[in-house]
Symmetry: C2
């Protein structure tokens, strides 16, 4: 059974079990770092599309220490936890169980501590040649889309599922398409000490993940993720001919924001790398739902750049100085 089918069943069951208690009134997307970033498109979907269901996108440790008052029996908690052993996310999952929330855990390993605290584990695809339609970002989206369809209704449901059917092919073609420029990028930026990332809309967090998980964590390069709409209200003053910017041009409603930032960069910066979702083929997905697929595209094209950069810098993506190595 695919992740999509599995999650359709899980959402149905959760709604059925809560029918007499007032249904699902809130959905919280909770995780840490890259796992939190991966949930952003689904949180953005709920914020933009839902008329009645409250939603939140919160770091696990903040969620546990500063829990929203409404979190309880009418809540659906969606956590992502790659190896199932992040203490803060396990704590969030436990809290969900204590409060009587429905808890769906998106994870990769089939055995881990976090699995003891959920009735609804979902194992997402990961690794070389994974099916992008089964990745954690898509899993979280299936939950959101299904929840909306089964409660308020979602008019673009079929279009969304058509997009989900196409995303794997789009990503694989895009990865092949950027291979050459990724190597040029790696040569150009191998000695840089700082690289900015930029994005907007439902795809914003793929720029966030590239910033915190790749540049900072895996390459020890300073980085900052700038929202393209915020750029003109402060950050753009650091723009100059030396500073590198890696910018996502998304497809969908916020493309105008990204294009405006790119136009400015082309005037005042010199070292710009552009990932354009239109050029990379995302437009074959219907415009009513395309926003939510930017993340899966960008986040899966970045690895082509990342592997080239790591090789060029002789700094393997797996090297850490603190993570899993010291106490924290």
């Amino acid at each position: 059974m695919s992740q999509r089918e599995q999650l359709q069943g899980i959402v149905s069951e959760i709604l059925a079990m809560r029918r007499e208690k007032g249904g699902v009134k809130q959905i919280y997307f909770v995780g840490c770092g890259g796992s939190l970033g991966a949930l952003y498109p689904a949180a953005n979907f709920m914020q933009r599309e839902s008329m009645t269901i409250k939603s939140g996108w919160i770091n696990s440790n903040e969620f546990v220490h500063s829990t929203p008052k409404d979190f309880g029996e009418n809540s659906l908690l969606v956590v992502a936890c790659h190896r199932g052993n992040t203490p803060e996310t396990i704590a969030a999952t436990k809290l969900g169980r204590e409060k009587g929330a429905a808890v769906i855990v998106l994870t990769w390993l089939e055995e881990s501590e976090i699995l003891s605290y959920t009735e609804y584990p979902v194992f997402y695809t990961f690794g070389a040649n994974k099916d992008i339609a089964g990745e954690k970002t898509m899993c979280a989206l299936y939950i959101a889309v299904e929840l909306l369809k089964q409660t308020e209704g979602y008019e673009h449901y079929d279009r969304f599922m058509e997009g989900a059917d196409r995303i794997d092919g789009i990503v694989k073609r895009a990865c092949a398409h950027v291979e050459k420029r990724a190597h040029a990028f790696a040569k150009e930026y191998r000695d840089d000490k700082l690289i900015y990332t930029m994005g907007s809309g439902a795809g914003y967090a793929s720029a966030y993940m590239e910033c915190i998980c790749i540049f900072m964590e895996m390459q020890w390069i300073h980085s900052s993720c700038i929202h393209t709409g915020e750029y003109f209200h402060g950050p753009f003053e650091v723009t100059d001919a030396e500073t590198p910017f890696l910018i996502q041009i998304s497809e969908g409603t916020t493309r105008a924001l990204d294009e405006r930032a790119l136009k400015f960069l082309k005037t005042y910066a010199k070292r710009i790398e552009v990932l354009d979702a239109k050029e990379l083929g995302l437009s074959t997905i219907d415009s009513s739902v395309v926003d939510y697929f930017n993340h899966s595209l960008f986040n899966n094209v970045y690895p082509v750049y990342n592997e080239a950069l790591a090789a060029e810098r002789q700094h393997p993506l797996s090297t850490r100085r603190y993570m899993w190595r010291v106490e924290y």
Copy 2:
């Protein structure tokens, strides 16, 4: 009439006028850059404290291009716009009027374009010796607190207003208190090309504003704002003895996150500047509401540092190379 009294009246009127239409079901906090940052504590308040009212915190241009479906007659839109002339925020305000939302505009100048699009302009305090209780951040909080009290009820309402009575004195004492260390900070970091800021919880956006509005915009220093709960899931790998971190230790529910990050910094970093809300006197505000006052404290203590840094670097805070000077 104080901003607080004025906003009590405005919220009552908005609720009365919407009673027959189903009331206020959503509240959106919208702005750009520092004006968006200033609205964060109120958005965080709604997210944490409300059982039924949806809320969002969104950049103006993203809000206009990617408007949530539920935005309309049952919505309250709160925008902040310092000079009343930011095109994206004017567009958001116009959109609010078109959609039949109630629109409150927090602004500073008593004459500006944005005022033609709202029935509810509120002029906040600004400048030297301003009353902190009348600042935009507090104005947005009064709206949120009043909305919750008049709809669901808010049990800590009196405690919150006691806090609001105290915040001006706390801030002014804290500013005097850090004077000396702010000058030492300026001398130490005058030649740095990058400074990280860190924060969490309802006070997170004061670290965001220091990053984007001061370091990047007003000093052309590279910067990135790290959430202390996210720090351990990527960003901490850039930590070393040379890289400077300016960290907020908040009072309230997320203090444990900040203290954990500080403990790590004290082990592996050497150049750390700490703003501790406890040391700076915020604990005289009741613990049930203290989270929401961190922002006003930090955001108003930073200027002591910022002025010292600007003087030491001979780079006035008012200098821009692009903002208001070129087309964008």
